[in-house]
Symmetry: C2
Subunit: 430 residues, 2 copies
C-alpha cells in the first residue's frame, strides 16, 4: 500500500526523525498537556513539505475537503475522533447540520460530502445538508453515482437558531470556507455550536496569523525537545496594502523576499544545504493555488506576468487580496512515479485520522502542487502516523509517517491558538 518513495535521505532530517522517535512518549505527553490548555478545531488538514533537510507545514485548512481520499480502513479513526469532539460540544446532540460549499459540486467534492456525512452519522447523529446558496429553494438531490441519497436543502433561520424546514440541529458543521464573506444567516447563533467558528472563514482568517502562532508553537516544541525550530517551521513575512494589478505595495514584497532569502541562505550554509532558496508569494487569505508564485530573487517580484499578478490579486469567489504572505519555499524531495508529491495530514479533534499524498506530474519540486491536474494517493497513513516502530530503521515508512503526524499536529495546535487569539468581539461576529 505504501507507494514507492524516492527517499534520497541525507542530512538533518534523519536526525530530526530519530529525535521524534526517541522522544515518542514525551512528545505524546506534551501534546496531551497542550490539549488541556487549547481546544482543537473540529477538523483540520495540513499540507506538509518534506525537503529531506526540513519538514514543515505550508498550509493549514480548517474546512478540509477530500475526506473521500483517505484510505477506507482508516475511517473508524475519524469516527472515534469525531465522537470525542461531538461529546465536547453537544453531548446529547441528535441532529447535525452540515453546510458544504455552495456551488461547483464536482463529483470529487460530492464524494467528500458523502464520506463526511457517513462519518458523522456513525457518531450517532442525524446529518442533513444545508446550503448557503439562495438559489437552493427546496430539497435538491445532489447527483452522485454511488450515493443516491444526498440531498441539500435551504437554510431556515428561526430567531437565534438556524436549521432546515423540519430540522433543528445542535451543531452546525461548516465545510464551506466562507471565502465570499460571513453569511448573515449564520451570525449571532448563540444557542447553537458553529464548527469551526465563523472567524475561521477565509473572509477574515489570515495565513500570517496562523504561521505566527505556528512559529511560537515550533519554538516551544523545539526548546522542549532540543530541536532547531527552523527544521519544522517555514520562515515567513507579510505585507499589507499590496495590489499587484495596480502595482502598489510591491516594494514591501521585494524587501521582505530579499530578507527571507538572506535568512534562508544563512540557514542553508549552517546545515550545508546545496539548494537554491526560493520564496512563495501568495494571498494571505483564501485557499487553492490560483495565486501562488515562486521567486528565487527579489527582483522577480516586479517582473511578474499579467497572469501571475491577476492570480495574486483575486482569490477564490472574488475575495480581494490586499495582504500578501511571503513564505520560505520548502522544496519537496518526495516523488511517486516520477511526479513530485507532498503529504497531506488529516486530523479530527486532536487526532491524526489519515492522510494522502498530493501528486502533480506537471509541477516542479519547488512549485505549488495544489493545482488542477493534481492527483491523490491515499495512504494507510493513520496506522503509520500513530504507531511508529521503535525497532525499525528511521527510514521505514511507518517512522517517516509518524514524523508527519507530529508536525501535522503542531500545525493543528497552532490553529487552535490562532483561533483563540483572533476570536473577535462577540458583538462583531457572535
Amino acid at each position: 500500500m505504501v507507494p514507492h518513495l524516492v527517499t534520497a535521505l541525507k542530512g538533518p532530517l534523519l536526525e530530526l526523525e530519530r529525535r521524534f522517535l526517541e522522544a515518542t512518549p514525551q512528545i505524546e505527553r506534551w501534546f496531551r498537556l497542550e490539549w488541556q490548555e487549547h481546544t482543537p478545531p473540529f477538523y483540520c488538514s495540513t499540507d506538509l513539505r518534506n525537503a529531506g533537510f526540513k519538514l514543515a507545514p505550508v498550509d493549514t485548512n480548517l474546512f478540509p475537503g477530500s475526506f473521500d481520499n483517505l484510505a477506507a480502513d482508516t475511517l473508524p479513526l475519524a469516527v472515534q475522533a469525531a465522537m470525542a469532539a461531538i461529546e465536547k460540544y453537544c453531548p446529547d446532540a441528535r441532529n447535525l447540520l452540515l453546510i458544504p460549499e455552495s456551488r461547483g459540486f464536482s463529483p470529487n467534492y460530492l464524494r467528500n460530502v458523502a464520506r463526511l456525512s457517513a462519518i458523522l452519522r456513525q457518531t450517532g447523529l442525524n446529518v442533513r445538508l444545508g446550503s448557503l446558496d439562495p438559489e437552493v429553494r427546496g430539497p435538491t438531490p445532489l447527483v452522485l453515482a454511488d450515493n443516491p441519497g444526498l440531498v441539500i436543502e435551504p437554510l431556515v433561520r428561526r430567531g437565534r437558531r438556524v436549521g432546515l424546514e423540519d430540522f433543528d440541529p445542535c451543531t452546525i458543521l461548516l465545510n464551506n470556507d466562507l471565502s465570499s464573506g460571513l453569511p448573515e444567516i449564520l451570525k449571532d447563533l448563540h444557542e447553537q455550536v458553529v464548527l469551526p467558528p465563523l472567524h475561521a472563514g477565509w473572509a477574515v482568517r489570515r495565513k500570517s496569523n496562523h504561521f505566527a502562532a505556528y512559529r511560537d508553537v515550533a519554538k516551544r516544541f523545539g526548546k522542549t525537545f532540543d530541536i532547531d525550530p527552523w527544521l519544522i517551521d517555514p520562515l515567513f513575512a507579510s505585507c499589507s496594502d499590496v495590489n499587484f494589478n495596480e502595482r502598489t505595495g510591491e516594494e514591501c514584497v521585494e524587501a521582505r523576499v530579499e530578507t527571507l532569502l538572506r535568512q534562508m541562505r544563512s540557514k542553508y550554509r549552517e546545515y550545508g544545504i546545496a539548494e537554491t532558496p526560493f520564496v512563495i508569494v501568495k494571498a494571505d487569505a483564501g485557499t487553492y493555488g490560483v495565486g501562488v508564485v515562486s521567486v528565487k530573487d527579489a527582483s522577480e517580484v516586479r517582473k511578474l506576468s499579467v497572469r501571475q499578478r491577476s492570480g495574486l490579486t483575486v482569490a477564490k469567489e472574488g475575495l480581494e487580496v490586499t495582504r500578501v504572505i511571503l513564505q520560505e519555499g520548502v522544496p519537496t524531495f518526495e516523488s511517486i512515479d516520477d511526479a513530485w508529491a507532498e503529504p497531506v495530514v488529516y486530523m479530527v479533534d486532536r487526532h491524526v485520522v489519515g492522510g494522502f499524498y498530493r501528486v502533480h506530474a506537471g509541477r516542479g519540486r519547488d512549485e505549488n502542487l495544489n493545482a488542477p491536474g493534481m492527483q491523490f494517493v491515499p495512504l494507510p497513513f493513520a496506522a503509520s502516523c500513530n504507531l511508529p516502530d521503535a525497532n525499525a530503521s528511521v527510514e521505514a515508512a511507518a517512522n517517516r509517517f509518524y514524523a508527519y503526524g507530529v508536525v501535522g499536529r503542531l500545525a493543528l495546535l497552532a490553529a487552535s491558538i490562532e483561533l483563540e487569539k483572533t476570536d473577535p468581539d462577540q458583538s462583531l461576529y457572535g
Copy 2:
C-alpha cells in the same frame, strides 16, 4: 481478509441486524448518553455467540489478553481510545505501571503484553512492567523473540503508593485477573488510579452480577429499540454453596437447569427454532474453560464425570468455587474451515477497537471453545464494527460485524454498571 463464514442465516437474526442498521444513529446516540452516566472499564473483551436466531454475550473479560491477535491495522484505534481513557483518569500522567499475569508466560501471553505496552507507550506514557510474583526479586528479562526489550520488575510499596525501584506511576493497569486473591500490596492506593478497580478481579467478581446488570441493559435497550431482549440476552440463574466434589447443592443446580430449559423451550417455540436447548454450567468466578459443562437435561447434573466435577470445583490458580452460574447455551452457527467459531470483541474505553474469531476444530457448536487447542483468526473487525454500510445487504460482513460491536458494547455497559454496583466499602478494598 474476512474468512469464509458459513452463514446459513434464517429467522429473527436477520431482522435483528436490520433493526440495528436502520437505527444506527439512534443506537450510537443512546450509547453516547449512557456514557455520560457510566464510566466504562479501561478495557474489556466479550465473547459473543451468534446462533443465527440470537446474538448474545456469554463471557465478559475485564483483563483481556490476546491483544496481539487483533489485526495490526486496527491498532491506532486502540491507541486513540486509550488516550481518551488516560486523559480521564490521569491527564498529566507520565508513568504507567502494567501488572501482567504472575506466572506461566507463554509466548502468546508475552506477545499480548508487548502489544499492550506498545499501545500504551503510544499514548504518551512511560510503561514498565511490575510483578505480583514474590519470586521476581530484580529486573527480569522476559524472553520474546521479536521483542527483546521486555523486562519485569518487583513491585515496591512506599506508603500509599506502589511502583518500581525507580518508577512512580500515576496509573496502575492490571492485566492480571487476581484469581488468587486481592494482593495486599495493591490495597489502599488512594493516591493512584488502579485500572480496572480491584473488585473487578475474579477473587471477588461474580459472573452472575455481570449478567444481572446485562439483563437490565438488554431490557432498556430492547424497550428503546423495540427488540425482544431475549434475542441479545442469555437467560441465566445461579446457585450458591455448591460443591460438586462433595455433591452438595446439586439439587439447586438441577432445579435451575430444569427451569432454564423450560424457558428456552418456550422461547424456541415462540420463534419456531428447531434446536435442542442446552444449559452451560460453570463457576460463577474465574476465567478459562476448565470447568464448563454443557447439559441438555437436568438429570445430567447428577451424572457428571469425576473430571467434570473436579473442573467445576477448582478454577484457575486454585480459586475454590462454591457459586455456580447456569447460563442458557447459545449454539454458534459460524464456522471457519469446518471448525466452529465465535467472535470476540475488544473494547478500550467506550470504543470497539478490534476483534477476532476464536476457532476450535475439536469442539462442537454447543460447547465451550475457550479451551486448549483453540486458534485465533484476526479480523479487520474494527473497521467493520464501526462502519456499517447502509447500502449493502444485511448479510454483508461489515453489517454483521456492526451488530457484534453493538452487542459487545452492551456487555461493556453492563460491566460498567456491575462495577458501580459492586464497588465495595472503601475501607474494605480502597
